[in-house]
């Protein structure tokens, strides 16, 4: 799994590529914890390049989202498609996260 980070004003945009399963999900959580410890509270996670996500990946996202909610921050998602979108729909995570088609459409709304 590849994680790339950039900033756009006070929003951290993280693009995740590859697979977020049992082995790689902790990597994502670790990166998120580092950024949150640095004081970041606004995140856009671009999942366009993500091919696969399991419950471990969903749990990681939910854990992070709960922390951010308590800090009055947020985490939005973009680029949901294919098998990853299936998983978000079945688990109803698609209703609990705000999602956008693309990073650009997300940023244009902020």
């Amino acid at each position: 799994m590849e994680i790339n980070t950039r900033r756009e004003k006070d929003i951290v945009i993280i693009s995740v590529k590859g697979r977020m399963g049992e082995v790689s999900a902790p990597e994502f959580e670790k990166r998120m914890n580092e950024l949150m410890n640095d004081g970041e509270t606004k995140f856009l996670i671009d999942l366009k390049g993500l091919e696969y996500i399991s419950s471990a990946g969903l749990r990681g996202l939910l854990t992070v989202a709960k922390i951010l909610k308590e800090r009055n921050g947020w985490i939005f998602l973009s680029g949901l498609k294919g098998a990853v979108k299936d998983v978000f729909e079945v688990s109803q995570f698609i209703s609990i996260f705000r999602t956008f088609e693309t990073v650009e459409s997300a940023l244009s709304e902020m």
């Binding site: 082995v23 091919e51 696969y52 399991s54 419950s55 854990t63 709960k66 294919g82 079945v90 609990i96």
Partner: protein
């Protein structure tokens, strides 16, 4: 298609089993998206074995046995020799609409049930045997419930 593979029940071997499964499934006419669905169900079941089947300090194996039947159904048995446990008896999470109310648990069994066409569990001697049945090979990602 017939294929069996067995590894110690540790997360580091999960990918070995999934890779084995992927190469078997590609020959059976499953769409890429469907293979991804099946893999997910397998990963959830196998991860559960790695985390919970064996008491801390001991380690057993996790095994998958794949076959196709006369009706072209793909049947996968997931086997471990850990303590008796039927994942199907686990309760599914409450699909609450709010981040703060949503629970972390129960996602595995929910995802498994949604990805397979049929599912059975039995205890066979000292083995837990969880059987997945896949009929749909096509682009329908989510199996009808």
């Amino acid at each position: 298609m017939i294929g069996n593979i067995k590894y110690p029940a540790k997360i580091e071997y999960l990918e070995n089993i999934l890779q084995f499964f992927r190469s078997c499934a590609r020959n059976e006419g499953f769409s890429k998206r469907r293979i991804s669905n099946i893999e997910l169900a397998l990963e959830e079941a196998l991860a559960n074995i790695c985390h919970h089947a064996y008491t801390v300090g001991t380690c057993g194996d996790m095994e998958i046995q794949c076959r196709t039947d006369d009706n072209k159904r793909l049947i996968i048995d997931i086997i471990d020799t850990g303590k008796p446990y039927n994942i199907l008896s686990a309760s599914e999470p409450e699909l609450a609409a709010d981040i703060s109310k949503r629970d972390l648990g129960g996602l595995g069994v929910l995802l498994i049930r949604s990805m397979v066409d049929d599912i059975h569990y039995c205890r066979r001697g000292n083995e837990n045997v969880l059987t997945f049945v896949f009929i749909d090979r096509g682009d329908f990602a989510i199996a009808p419930s």
